[in-house]
Amino acid sequence: MSIVMGLKAKLGLDVFKEDKEFHIKIKAGHEKDPRLKNTILVCPAGLYSENDNGEIVISVDGCLECGTCLLVCGPEVLEWHYPNGGVGVQFRFG
């Protein structure tokens, strides 16, 4: 669990500007899609997790907008677009 804490703290160092809407959504009926399960391993921000019902859930705060989850799941599973202009992560160093 310490890693989860570590990661949250790390993401806390980044500058984020909040969006009005979620820019990534799991499409209805795909919560248990095997492709979606892979996101737990591949997301560098650790945004995906499995709940008690065996469904994958996403907490989009802290998204680094890399797109790995989209490449892994495809547009059939995820509704994915970049956040609106001027919001989301703003890298100062990059």
């Binding site: 890693i3 570590g6 990661l7 790390k10 993401l11 160092l13 980044d14 500007k17 892979n38 737990i40 391993l41 591949v42 997301c43 560098p44 921000a45 650790g46 680094l64 907008e65 890399c66 797109g67 790995t68 989209l70 490449l71 892994v72 495809g74 677009h81 970049y82 956040p83 609106n84 202009g85 001027g86 989301g88 992560v89 703003q90 890298f91 100062r92 160093f93 990059g94």
Partner: protein
Amino acid sequence: MVEEAIEQFDAIVVGAGLAGLAAAYTLAGEGLEVLVLERGDYPGAKNVTGGRIYLNPVREMFPDLWKKAPLERYIAHEEVCIMDKERSINVRYDGLELGLEPYQSYSVLRGKFDKWFAKQAERKGAMLVVKSRVDDVVIENGRVVGVMAGGEALRANVVIACDGVLSFTAEKAGLRKGAQAKNFAVGFKEVIELPRQVIEDRFNLEGDEGVARLYMGDVTKGKFGGGFLYTNKESISLGIVVGIKDLMEEEPKIEAPQLLEDFKQRPEVARLLKGGETAEYSAHVIPEGGYKVMDKLYGDGILVAGDAAGFSMNIGVTVRGMEYALASGYFAAQAVIEAKEKNDFTRAGLATYENLLKNSFVLKDFINFKESLEVLEYPPLFKHYPELAGNIMKDLYEVPAGPKARLYPTIKKHMSLGEMWAMLQVGRRMMKI
């Protein structure tokens, strides 16, 4: 601001990364009307590099740019670290030529560099609009004639899609097939701040010298990829690049962020970072499929450049993308300039772009190295061989209480005929790169 300027641009560039800014800088330099749309708060806000940039391939394309460019340290020392679980082998290459001007490569932070580069493009006359996300392309009679941004249609003779690895612009224009995870890697890194003097002392550097160190083996738990460390002026960029497919499928299954945590906690790495403060954590996808999976580079009224075109390449010893981005942006601009002279912005009129790329290092490199991904995607390179090398070193350096074994039998113990045969096969494999 956009409305009152002009109704029709010579070119609209989607994305203020290196490809987009290179295109805008070049077009504006020739007096063309160019609009750059960037979804971040400022150019660089969404951009990430490992990062090191090689200047030789692009020096002449932007002769006025490099003297004042906010680059970090010139790389005067190249290091490789082969990592097994409990041991590692380091090689440091100090070549006199690496310390001679003009330096071949620099560490770089894109937040700083892209912001500055955008200013240079604006000075040449390019128009930059930030906080503007492009949502679609406008197509009329089968030809791209502009983009939709913020509900507004913006028109241009040519759209240059430089919107990065996922390029929704190229996708909407029908130039891009569905991307497959196996052709991409994901990189994630921390920028760790340390005082200048500490960096120079710790890495044995003089002045603005820098070091680039690549790690392979246990850093990715044997998965396709590696770790990197670049010294900046007052920070270190430390991260991992790993194949997305391997991350999903190869044992041991481990969450990406944990790989980086484990990497940082290796004693060899931890001591380099001691006292440092992480300032930022970032991630980015890298196209690695190369020439074999490259999508269309242009269509009627549209050109694709940089990561959007898949211009990034991993050949093991180097992982490069930024020079290809700069050069492809430059060539895209040249193609637009020529198309404007002919007043032909159709696919045929823009075909110069591919010819320019083919006659340059860009597509020459991608064709020469088209086998490299398949050659390098060979698990023993990331697991077995780092282990083997570590074990040989361990036995060579060990002085037991009793008599020490002769060196030749010590090595031979690890190098059975089967092992040597397998190595020969690896060698043959490598000959394709």
